[in-house]
Symmetry: C2
Subunit: 428 residues, 2 copies
């Protein structure tokens, strides 16, 4: 990779998510050369992907060009690359665009969907971790409704109008809420030929409560909101398989569906060379110390979702959310500068700002450290916080306008099949 060597030490960051960007910002205008590698040329604001899937937001509004974030930084290089291997012996990363030497390496490669080894689920389910995936889901939902118009087979039609979402974390809950609102506000008008009362939204959770990372009160209230919206919440049900038609579970319960969304788990997106048992712990995350250092290395770090930093409050590692990623990126930037000045690094202390989820119009649950609340005010807080953390003034304005419009009009205009997902419809 033809990136010139300078007298500055080179920090290579893999991944332009919350963690990687936060670190890169901290290192800007410092005496280091920073190379950021990502397989996309944009940063994705993942918390709003479900709104892209449901036609509420445009994909570009929640993406931001990485080159633009970093354009005023000195000694900064971005490369669109897929990292294949990390060679810890030679301090090199091997990518599809060549080999790059590093002085410091930071893995900020995030997480990916965990299918727990079930290849059928992997093959037939829809995921929602990236913008293309979210657009595929959007297309599939709309294509299924178009197809439902064409069949005279009642079972087939019901399967096309049946949503099964596995996993009741924030992604699953927010998606279920959005679909429920579409069922109520949009489908009857868009599909007068269909009996859209038959549309089913099933949210399946293996544990005994939804939003299990949040407070009990939040779980309870969110479930209440979902049920009022007409979502079927199934608790203590474990999905065992989906063959493209039928969802089977650990009980007698089965579902026939053409839209199966897997939001039941994520795992660290490790990279060859640092994925061995000596590095990786539960959830395929790389174990790091309080400085985000990977075991056995002074100059290799991991931050964000891919890193597992254990502490007393979080013995299984900090949650895989934006906040720990942003904070770790920031702190590591500071620590790398300290290392260069031969100062001791500072331990990372997680400032838990809480968690939140929206269930639909005027409905959200918010857990702050000392204050937990639910309902309309929580919903305003949810919106404000998401607008605040979106990168870019234009994105904020456009998302805000879309939200105001959708709120007033009970609408989601981006219900567009720009790229069809189903290659071949079984058309009658």
């Amino acid at each position: 990779m033809n990136i010139p060597r300078t007298s500055y030490p080179r920090v290579v960051i893999i991944g332009g998510g919350f963690a990687g960007i936060s670190l890169a910002k901290k290192l800007s205008k410092q005496e280091v050369q920073v190379v950021l590698l990502d397989k996309h040329n944009y940063h994705t604001f993942q918390p709003l992907l479900y709104q892209v899937s449901t036609g509420g937001l445009e994909p570009d509004s929640i993406a931001y060009p990485i080159r633009k974030i970093l354009k005023n930084f000195t000694n900064f290089h971005f490369r669109l690359a897929h990292v294949e291997t990390i060679d810890t012996e030679t301090s090199e990363v091997i990518t599809d665009i060549g080999v790059l030497k590093f002085d410091y390496l930071v893995l900020a490669s995030g997480s990916k969907t965990n299918y727990f080894g079930n290849t059928e689920i992997e093959q037939y389910s829809m995921a929602m971790k990236t913008i293309p995936q979210s657009l595929n889901l959007r297309s599939l939902i709309l294509e299924n409704f178009e197809e439902a118009l064409l069949t005279s087979d009642l079972n087939e039609r019901n399967a096309l109008m049946n949503f099964v979402i596995v996993g009741a974390g924030p992604t699953g809950v927010e998606l279920a809420g959005a679909l429920a609102e579409i069922k109520k506000g949009i489908l009857p008008k868009d599909y007068p030929d269909l009996d859209t009362r038959s549309v089913q939204i099933n949210l399946i959770q293996s544990g005994d409560r939804i939003l299990k990372e949040m407070s009990e009160k939040a779980s309870e209230k969110a479930e209440d909101f979902l049920e009022k919206l007409g979502v079927n919440v199934w608790k203590n049900v474990r999905v065992t398989n989906y063959d493209g038609k039928t969802v089977t579970t650990n009980s007698d319960l089965t579902f026939e569906t053409a839209t199966f969304i897997w939001a039941a788990g994520v795992k660290g997106a490790t990279i060859k060379g640092l994925d061995g048992n000596e590095f990786v712990t539960k959830g395929n995350r790389i174990l790091v110390n309080e400085f985000n250092q990977v075991k056995g290395f002074k100059h290799i770090f991991a931050i964000g979702d891919v890193a597992c930093m254990e502490n007393d409050e979080f013995p299984k590692g900090l949650p895989m959310m934006a906040q720990p990623a942003i904070q770790q990126g920031h702190q590591l930037g500071d620590n790398i500068l300290r290392l260069l000045e031969n100062k001791p690094m500072k331990s990372f202390v997680y400032n838990d700002k809480g968690a939140m989820a929206t269930i639909g119009r005027n409905k959200a649950v918010v857990d702050l450290k000392h204050y937990k609340f639910q309902g309309v005010f929580a919903w305003y807080v949810w919106m404000f916080v998401h607008l605040f953390f979106l990168i870019g003034f234009r994105n904020r304005v456009v998302v805000f306008i879309n939200w105001v419009y959708n709120y007033i009009r009970f609408d989601r205009e981006a219900r567009l099949i720009i790229r069809p997902f189903k290659k071949k419809l079984k058309r009658a």
Copy 2:
């Protein structure tokens, strides 16, 4: 196709572009059953596709769900379908989702890119007639710049930064202008590692002036604007081939480029069954009379780009633009209602509202019937007219905000490679 027969006569409209939508609106709440078929579930505002290609607008902002346009109409059915054949004997359209009987048929299938039989150009060139095509071009442009960073071969790098646009109609001119602004305002900041002064934008026109459908003054001024922006305008040059690397012309002139955009011609998108020599005239358009009737049929019509209606002022047929399409759709709606009441149809009279094109920031050319002007005021008129004709309040607001932002910040934020176009980059 399971669309119930009612006592009302059935009008089948093929195509949800300007013509088809205008007709459908006119027929709403009348005593006819309307079936609109389109292969997309959205209407595309084609005049702004070049802004999607150049990252200035989001794709969803210039698309509008057809079901939403028509949701309050009675006796209305939309089907996502690809029409394969028209059987004029049995009055049926044969589609990929089944067969449909019609009482009245209206072809509003628009136009498609004309490669004039050159299969190499068809294979290697980029077109800009649909949203997916425009997004492909956006991805290709950005991927080529990422790739330019990787090569040390000067010729290859120059080819990756060289744009060749063939055809200097509004599409070619507006794209060239937008690329010139990107060269100036964005590339130097996004690619500090590249010498972006080497970026070349070539606009090639076979005739002796650009924007040849407009006034001489407009052509002159537009060329002047383009040259000030640094675009190389080549007139009287006919491109003979492009093999994926080299553009050859009818002279010694050749270009090495990785980005070759073909905007040199369109032809009517006819459908099997009505594509014979007895129907089709120059430009593959269907010859229609003053009522938009296809020769030999009382109940089959063609409107918009696919129809060729000749008159004294336009002996080769009305221009393939939005205005004739909208007006013909409207008039035909009226005429179909007259037919049903056994009244005589009214002849179509084209109300020529003129033409316009923008070349870049503060630069546009406008030809009205009695008034032609160029420059800043023309640019405001261009923007106002485009906002006005965009369908949907939300789209108008979002496009407006993007334009204001882009204007103030000299920026285009949607420079995102959401779906890569190049399958495999030749990476070093």
